[in-house]
């Protein structure tokens, strides 16, 4: 099929619209309401084009091509139509471009310059709209709105939460929230990019720079294991904002709020800016040389009794160097699974836990079972794919979880279970409510990272793997942190070297926080928030002879227990690579210079490694990592463990940690605006053996620390008598231990 645009002959497919053809062939047609990933409404009338033998100009975004169509985008009719539309759009648009943050990248500005008139015949007063406060992240200036409805359609079609809507008619039309509440969707920041004018703005960026001054630098998100592609915009060595970089395989045109606003924490007051060493009970400033000397000295002394725990947010380069250095120093206990407490599965785990299928293949699946993950909160980008799958392929999505939450895509079935019930969900064959999936269909079982916090994680993994195998399903293992897959591949494990090479002589009864260690090395983790049991780790810190921290931020426990603190730069201040959940290695570069005297983790580790006579360089490490990853070959993700003991049902009183994606790493914990917006309604569930009324107060004894918690509501009947408890404060993971007494 052929059509002619401005007398150029173009190949087209059936059912394409004119604007799609024009975009593909770089023919410019002005538009406001049209967006390639949203539905077509043809409401702005900016894309009017002249079609031969058609009486009036037609909107290019909604007109479907026909054989031999002759279209003119810039003849007199089309231009007159565009000029008139532009005049109408500008009737109510304020001329406040000098203070508007959109100025310079404003579609209205550009189109007005190109297609508008220099004068207006409108002499009456302009309309003003009173702004509603819609949260900490998006700042509104609704007088500027031109009612393109992109933000409304985004909420309905992509984010799945209809938060913004159009109310009123004609002059009274307004875009606003129906109820006076802020945006709650984890994808809410995308309306900022979608807005063609300056009506919806980035609150953090507000008035701090102008668009033409910004420098754009590509990077990779450090907040979830999908590895969204992003652009940081910097001005004078300072990050001003973050926007999505289009990637058809991962984040499409979207970005989650964590990624978009997650850089706020790097300027926190807690940042450690100097190398610190403990002298006379106090941490004092020193230089890197004396730190490395002291560190090597301690390692010589205590090497056999040391334990090194690294964050899975570190880059692959850091991980490789970290384990290489420590293994050469004879440190055997190296791990990244600080939040886990059941390690019986580790020998049978795949070398790289991954999503197993490509994200773009999700919409072609027939059934998806989500186990213990609140996808729309923890992996907002993934929820877009799931929504798409349900919409276009009517995929059945089931959710099995330990606590109640909402998803932004329809669930076929949602069950709330305690960890024992979850373990036995597919093994009890006589149960009627079981999910029945056919072997011939395309099935996926997705194990969320929160499941790994449970004390019967191995059993759950084993049982779900068995079930997945029986129904021929793929098993997706989602990582807790940005580089969890990388941590497994790079051997940040007690039982494996890089590339998944097993080490002999590892006991089965491995426990990370159990036995005493003389030397503790904690890399980019905060003892208060990042461990499965904060009491145990505190005890360990107290008991060990030397504690070495690599950290970007100062916390109470570091102040109290650290002997050496290496100041670490944050992800945006360093270069490296992340292995995402689809086993895609993505490199990122330094965006801004490290604050103070802090240094890139890879730099510190390189110099440490090279003191032992290695001559590693950054490039040689990259080459090594590439080689290691090229050799790994995994057919499936099934984790099947022999001779696994069933979990005893009498240990049923168990506190479950709700994985909080908005404070899952040290930088995110310091992003105040994200915490205020998304972190304010967090509950954790607590099964009780007594019945409770909603007025009771629970006193929660965790050794000597007492937490007083008021019961918010008694939500689920399953597990029996579980209550959802609202936790105050910003750092939710603070309460994160097992075997807790509950007084009523």
């Amino acid at each position: 099929m052929h059509i002619y645009i401005n007398d150029t002959k173009l190949d087209v497919n059936e059912n394409e619209t004119i604007i799609q053809v024009a975009d593909r062939n770089d023919i410019h047609i002005p538009r406001f309401c049209y967006h390639k990933r949203l539905s077509i409404v043809a409401s702005c009338r900016m894309c009017l084009v002249d079609i031969e033998n058609v009486k009036y100009p037609q909107p290019a975004c909604s007109t479907i091509v026909k054989e031999g169509m002759r279209i003119n985008t810039n003849n007199r009719t089309a231009e007159a139509a565009q000029k008139n539309t532009m005049e109408f759009l500008l009737i109510n648009h304020p001329l406040d471009c000098p203070v508007c943050d959109q100025a310079g990248e404003c579609e209205l500005q550009d189109v007005s310059l190109e297609h508008g008139d220099y004068k207006s015949t409108y002499k009456e007063l302009k309309r003003t709209v009173i702004d509603k406060n819609i949260g900490e992240l998006v700042h509104t200036e609704m007088t500027r709105c031109i009612h393109c409805s992109r933000c409304v359609r985004f909420g309905e079609e992509v984010a799945g939460i209809k938060e913004l809507g159009m109310t009123g008619r004609g002059e009274e039309t307004k875009i606003e929230t129906f109820i006076n509440e802020g945006l709650s969707s984890q994808l809410s920041g995308n309306v900022i990019d979608l807005c063609p004018v300056g009506a919806l703005n980035n609150s953090l960026y507000k008035y701090s720079a102008r668009t033409w001054d910004l420098k754009q630098m590509p990077s990779i998100s450090s907040n979830d294991c999908l590895g969204s592609n992003i652009f940081y915009h910097t001005y004078k060595d300072d990050i001003k904002r973050c926007v999505p970089k289009e990637d058809e395989e991962i984040n499409l045109s979207w970005l989650s709020d964590n990624d978009r606003f997650g850089y706020e924490g790097i300027k926190s007051e807690d940042r450690i800016l100097h190398p610190l060493i403990r002298r006379n009970e106090n941490l004092e400033k020193t230089d890197f040389n004396s730190l490395t000397e002291k560190f090597s000295e301690y390692l010589e002394k205590y090497s056999s009794g040391s334990c090194a725990i690294m964050s899975a947010q570190s880059s692959c380069e850091e991980m490789f160097l970290f384990q290489d250095f420590l293994r050469n120093k004879n440190v055997k206990k190296i791990d990244h699974r600080s939040k886990e407490c059941d390690f019986r599965y580790q020998k049978n785990y795949p070398t790289i836990p991954s999503f197993d299928i490509k994200l773009i293949d999700i919409p072609s699946l027939d059934n998806i079972i989500i186990v213990g993950a609140n996808i729309s909160k923890e992996f907002p980008i993934l929820s877009i794919y799931f929504r798409d799958a349900h919409k276009n392929n009517s995929t059945n999505i089931f959710s099995l979880s330990t606590y109640e939450f909402e998803e932004n895509f329809p669930l076929e079935k949602s069950e709330i279970l305690n960890s024992q019930e979850l373990e036995n969900y597919f093994t009890n064959s006589n149960k009627e409510s079981d999910i029945h999936l056919e072997k011939s269909k395309k099935n996926l079982i997705l194990i969320g990272p929160a499941v790994s916090y449970l004390c019967n994680y191995s059993n759950i993994l084993n049982n779900f793997s068995e079930y997945a195998k029986s129904i021929n399903a793929n098993l997706a293992l989602l990582g807790d942190q940005a580089n969890t897959s990388g941590a497994w591949a790079m051997g940040i494990l007690p039982h494996r070297l890089p590339g998944g090479v097993s080490i002999d002589g590892q006991e089965d009864s491995y426990e990370l926080l159990s036995d005493k260690d003389d030397l503790l090395i904690i890399y980019n983790l905060e003892p208060e928030y990042d461990f499965s049991d904060d009491n145990r780790i505190m005890d360990k810190l107290k008991e060990s002879k030397v504690n070495i921290f690599f950290s970007s931020y100062m916390t109470e426990s570091i102040k109290k227990y650290a002997d050496i603190v290496f100041p670490l730069s944050t992800q945006v201040e360093s270069s490296g690579s992340y292995l995402n959940t689809n086993k895609k290695l993505q490199h990122y570069n330094k965006i801004i210079n490290p604050l103070g005297e802090s240094r890139e983790g890879a730099d510190i580790l390189l110099s440490l490694c090279n003191t032992m006579g290695n001559d590693y360089t950054y490039n040689s490490i990259r080459e090594k990592i590439r080689k290691i990853l090229a050799e790994i070959n995994i057919s499936n993700n099934y984790v099947r463990i022999k001779n696994l003991k069933k979990t005893n049902s009498s240990d049923s009183l168990e506190k479950m940690i709700i994985r909080n994606p908005n404070s899952s790493n040290p930088t995110l914990r310091r992003c105040n605006s994200i915490i205020k917006t998304h972190d304010n309604d967090d509950y954790f569930s607590l099964p009780l053996d007594k019945s409770v009324s909603s007025n009771n107060k629970i006193i929660f004894n965790e050794k000597n620390n007492q937490f007083k918690l008021t019961i918010k509501q008694k939500v689920h009947s399953k597990p029996v008598n579980a209550v959802l408890v609202k936790i105050g404060g910003t750092h939710k993971q603070k309460i994160g231990a097992y075997s807790t007494e509950v007084d009523l």
């Binding site: 471009c97 000098p98 203070v99 100025a103 507000k206 008035y207 701090s208 720079a209 102008r210 033409w212 001054d213």
Partner: protein, 160 residues
């Protein structure tokens, strides 16, 4: 032959008399030079001299920190930082003009959407230290306060 005539002419100081003829002519006319510090030439109302930041009659500074002057400045003499002021408006935290870099082209004045930055008719100023050449926001606002009346007069003249 010519040399001899030249020599004879030089004996009568003819060149000097020629020069004195012009001097004599100008003696009777009004002089065009002025006694500078005491006397001054009239300035155009569009003269581009020292910069000033103006305020509104209610005392509010005009500058909204749009950075258009910074963007248009061909000599890169202007630099500024902006912030959200407590009343939610865009304001500058830093506004600096390096007068050594400035070429007094007046583009900043033309670009300003709120007539905040202007070039006054002041042209007599000096710096005693090198860093004094960088005028900051406080200095510029002070000049604006001092020369607001003159500025308004100049603007009135420019209108007609």
């Amino acid at each position: 032959m010519n040399k001899i005539i030249k020599f004879i002419k030089s004996l009568f100081f003819l060149e000097i008399l020629k020069g004195l003829k012009i001097t004599g002519r100008k003696l009777s006319k009004k002089p065009i030079t002025i006694q500078y510090p005491e006397e001054k030439t009239p300035l155009s109302s569009r003269f581009r001299g020292l910069h000033a930041l103006r305020k509104y009659p209610n005392g509010e500074e005009r500058c909204i920190g749009c950075k258009l002057c910074e963007a248009v400045c061909p000599a890169l003499a202007i630099s500024m930082d902006t912030e959200v002021r407590s009343d939610n408006t865009r304001r500058t935290t830093k506004y600096e003009i390096d007068l050594f870099k400035c070429i007094y082209c007046g583009f900043c004045e033309e670009a300003c959407p709120v007539d905040a930055i202007v070039e006054t008719s002041i042209f007599e100023y000096h710096f005693e230290r090198r860093k004094d050449s960088v005028m900051n926001k406080i200095d510029l606002l002070k000049i604006g306060d001092m020369y607001e009346k003159e500025e308004l007069k100049d603007r009135e003249k420019n209108k007609s």
